[in-house]
């Protein structure tokens, strides 16, 4: 008897759901973005956005004016994934180019450097090496932005968010008002 009641309730719910859904499908179409994506992929798309919303000082691209170099401090597979996701994209009229490094020294020619969590031990070295250079540093380790990195990913409610250290941004002679405004969290040097 109880079992039957349960099934009936379930069926009712399902029916109700169908009805409601039909009614609201139009309002939902507006928010027709993909609901889920792997974390690493999402971060790749963030990197593209970061690049597009940041202004570099004059002369930052003097060495290779047609390239926008994204550096990845991390594994081969981390680089590959970003490369795959952002293949064919450009920032302004500059085409994306990807460079992998196992030390920060190898990435000094990049406009943006992503320090993967696997390489968090190198964070102090990265920040020392890039000090004063117009390089947008992006991390994914707790405390990255507080210790002088510019942007840092974190996960909240199963979504990728980022925090920004505006002082670090201006020290690197970069401007990114939109990134500051959109950041859910602003942090200061510690």
């Amino acid at each position: 008897m109880k079992a039957r009641c349960g099934v009936a309730v379930a069926l009712l719910l399902a029916l109700l759901a169908r009805g409601l859904r039909a009614e609201f499908s139009s309002s939902q179409a507006a928010a027709s973005l993909q609901d889920t994506a792997p974390e690493a992929e999402l971060k790749a798309f963030f990197l593209l956005n970061f690049s597009r919303f940041t202004e570099w000082p004059e002369g930052a691209f003097a060495a290779s004016p047609d390239e926008f170099r994204i550096g990845v401090l991390g594994s081969e597979s981390a680089l590959e994934l970003i490369q795959r996701k952002l293949a064919g994209k450009s920032v302004g009229k500059r085409a994306l180019k990807f460079v992998r490094g196992s030390t920060p020294g190898e990435l000094k020619s990049c406009a943006l450097v992503f320090v993967t969590d696997a390489e968090r031990a190198q964070i102090p070295a990265v920040l020392a090496e890039f000090k004063g250079r117009p390089i947008l540093t992006v991390g994914e380790s707790e405390g990255f932005a507080e210790s002088g990195g510019i942007l840092n990913f974190y996960v909240e409610e199963n979504k990728v968010k980022y925090e920004i250290n505006p002082d670090a941004l201006s020290r690197a002679q970069l401007k990114a008002t939109k990134l500051i405004v959109a950041a859910p969290k602003k942090v200061k040097d510690r």
């Binding site: 349960g6 399902a14 798309f45 696997a118 909240e156 409610e157 199963n158």
Partner: protein, 665 residues
């Protein structure tokens, strides 16, 4: 049985393929990658993360057998209790005795009071020192707001101290800032007769987040025993971050639970035993305050204080317990990349017991305390090799000073491979019952005159000890595949026995009394292999599996007069496996299937079984979700345990179906 399991496996795969095939033509016109790459920052931040989780990845480095169940996975399995959520952990065995009682054990010694497993909720121990064990009927959290459950199989004594012998289960709820806004869940079904929960979270200013919640449920009964389970619980949590270097958490819960069940009650006078059906009432509350402070960038201090009040009333025993616990932990980064963690702890407990004819304590008012300290250093020996070495030092009222050292090594030759090794000693300290209880029960085989067994605690009862060796390997051969293998070899000594004395004729002719006294005259050996694997088969399809192989050998010491404690070696399943499919192939629909197999429990006379749970959830609106869950679908009902050696009668687990609605606002 194996065939059935295989069948589930193929069905899962087939389903995945079929669903994916169906989806493909629809998806092609709007290639998801391109969609995402053109999303604005704001929209990107709304996309939920799928895939091999970061936690699985960050576990690569951990030199221990650890499983993390994320809150989302708990919800997606349709589990409504903590015990059921633990079925997805290789190395654990979870058996339902009745609708409100479980036998949960890690690496063997499964019992209603599995003495060697420590359970914590947000840092608060819920292991009762009365019996050494966890009162699962009284244990609840709002599962919707659980962040994760971390399960460490094997000894955790170096950090967590006594009783973290075979495992530690850490239930961690979300921070208040991650549970902002409102949520209401309501549901009903056959076994989950009716349930509801509500939560509201908000901010006071910029740096104080809070939430309050309440929940209520009515479950059961199982087949064969009138074992309904009804309860309510409510609580709150505040997280205050006045400065980046300080965070303060203040939280509390209150619960009241009524758990029915059939018990055989024994007494020292005729008729010696009778079967009753009486509810056990559990109620209690707790308050916890934690302050995390950064003294310097390389130095963190955590101070935690909690008060816990718990009472329960059942026919055999009634107890009121107050616990105060203070815990201090300091983390310091040192030269050569060392990470030094040290801690101090003090716990005070007061227990007030109402003696009954079947169970009596010589000291029904008992105050006990435990003082402890630990130190642990993580030392990078080489770029790829890390060593962790440490020990806990503990003082308790029963056995005095205990030392629990451990050594762990991890070697990560490449980003996607790691090998770890651990050696440790752990102890299980005596419970109040083992020290002080006198408990009467009649012989299970009726004799004339009846043989009345009287079990007595002893002040000479010592700690049970274990030395453990573990070896594990983790590999991520592809971006989409993780494999985690752990093996262990544990040696136990001074295990609990019940030593028989000469029969006592004082009650003749009504009964013969056989006196038993708790002793430590058994040693044992367990070994096993635990495998966990996850595979992101394609976008929106994740498969997860686990296998556990376990063996145990117990032997009485020479000179023991125990009548069969060593038969407990056959109480655990020798083989267990599960296979789970997580499907997100249709937009706004989540589909989950879990199949599990547990081999027979020879010592309990329980046969092997295979069962399956399924859940389908539909996001009707962005803020409204409906779910339909089927539990134990393969059989009308099945046994997972037999009557407990004390007095609880086992019921069969029936098939169950429930539906729920969740609304967020």
């Amino acid at each position: 049985m194996q065939k059935l399991f295989l069948l589930i496996g193929t069905t899962l795969l087939f389903l995945a393929r079929a669903l994916a095939a169906q989806q493909e033509p629809e998806k092609k016109p709007q290639k998801p990658d391109q969609d995402l790459s053109e999303l604005s920052l704001e929209d990107l931040m709304k996309v939920e993360i799928t895939s091999v989780s970061k936690s699985e990845h960050s576990l690569m480095d951990t030199p221990a057998a650890v499983t993390v169940i994320r809150g989302d996975d708990i919800r997606r399995t349709g589990a409504t209790t903590i015990a059921e959520a633990l079925r997805l952990v290789p190395g654990l065995s979870v058996a339902r005795l009745s609708s409100n009682k479980w036998l949960v054990a890690s690496r063997g010694f499964s019992d209603l009071f599995s003495t060697k497993l420590l359970v914590l909720i947000d840092g608060r121990s819920v292991y009762t020192p009365l019996f050494s064990g966890v009162l699962w009927p009284a244990l609840d959290v709002d599962l919707e707001d659980v962040d994760r459950i971390e399960v460490i199989r094997g000894p955790g004594a170096t950090v967590w101290g006594a009783n973290a012998v075979n495992g530690v289960i850490n239930i961690i709820t979300k921070k208040a800032k991650d549970t902002q806004g409102g949520r209401v869940t309501a549901g009903a079904g056959t076994q989950e007769r009716a349930f509801g929960s509500a939560r509201w979270g908000g901010m006071v200013g910029d740096d104080l987040a809070y939430r309050v919640y309440g929940k209520s449920f009515s479950r059961g009964p199982g087949k064969g025993v009138d074992d309904d389970w009804d309860g309510s619980q409510g609580g709150f949590r505040f997280d205050w971050t006045p400065r980046p270097s300080d965070s303060v958490t203040f939280q509390g819960d209150y619960y009241s639970v009524l758990a029915d069940g059939t018990q055989t009650i024994f007494s020292a006078a005729a008729p010696f035993s009778q079967i009753t059906n009486q509810a056990t009432q559990y109620s209690g509350g707790n308050l916890l305050l934690r302050w995390e402070h950064e003294l310097a960038p390389d130095s963190k201090l955590r101070t935690q204080f909690y008060y816990d009040h718990a009472e329960y009333q059942q026919p055999v025993i009634q107890e009121l317990r107050d616990t105060l616990d203070f815990d201090l932990q300091h983390q310091l980064k040192l030269f050569w990349g060392q990470q030094l963690t040290s801690g101090l702890g003090y716990r005070w407990g007061r227990s007030t017991i109402d003696n009954t004819p079947s169970a009596a304590f010589n000291h029904p008012h008992k105050v006990s305390d435990i003082a402890s300290a630990f130190i642990q250093d993580e030392i990078p020996l080489h770029e790829t090799v890390k060593m962790t070495i440490g020990s806990k030092f503990e003082y308790n009222n029963y056995t005095g000073f205990e030392i629990e050292p451990g050594l762990r090594l991890s070697w990560r030759p490449a980003e996607n491979h790691s090998v770890w090794f651990s050696a440790a000693r752990a102890v299980r300290t005596p419970s109040q019952a083992e020290d002080d209880l006198t408990f009467a029960y009649t012989n299970l085989q009726p004799t004339t005159p009846p043989t009345l067994i009287r079990v007595a605690g002893s002040h000479d009862f010592e700690s049970e000890t274990m030395t453990a060796l573990e070896l594990g390997y983790r590999v991520q051969p592809l971006e989409s595949v993780t494999l985690d293998i752990a093996t262990f070899d544990n040696h136990y000594s001074d295990l609990r026995t019940s030593e028989a004395g000469p029969p006592d004729p004082s009650l003749l002719p009504a009964a013969v009394v056989l006196p038993l006294t708790f002793g430590n005259k058994m040693h044992g050996h367990t070994w096993g292999v635990e495998v966990a694997a996850a595979w992101q088969a394609m976008e929106g399809v994740r498969l997860q599996g686990g296998y556990t192989f376990f063996r145990m050998n117990l032997e009485l010491d020479s000179g023991s007069t125990d009548l069969g404690s060593n038969t407990a070696e056959k109480n655990d399943p020798q083989n267990q496996a599960f296979l789970r499919g997580v499907f997100d192939v249709v937009k706004d629909v989540q589909f989950d299937l879990v199949g599990r197999y547990v081999s027979r429990l020879q010592g309990r006379g329980v046969g092997a079984y295979t069962e399956m749970d399924a859940r389908i959830a539909w996001k009707i609106l962005p803020k409204l979700e409906a779910a339909l869950v089927g539990q134990n679908l393969l059989q009308k009902e099945h046994f997972e345990s037999s009557n407990s050696s004390f007095s609880d009668h086992a019921s069969q687990v029936p098939r169950g179906v429930y539906a729920s609605l969740t609304w967020r606002f």
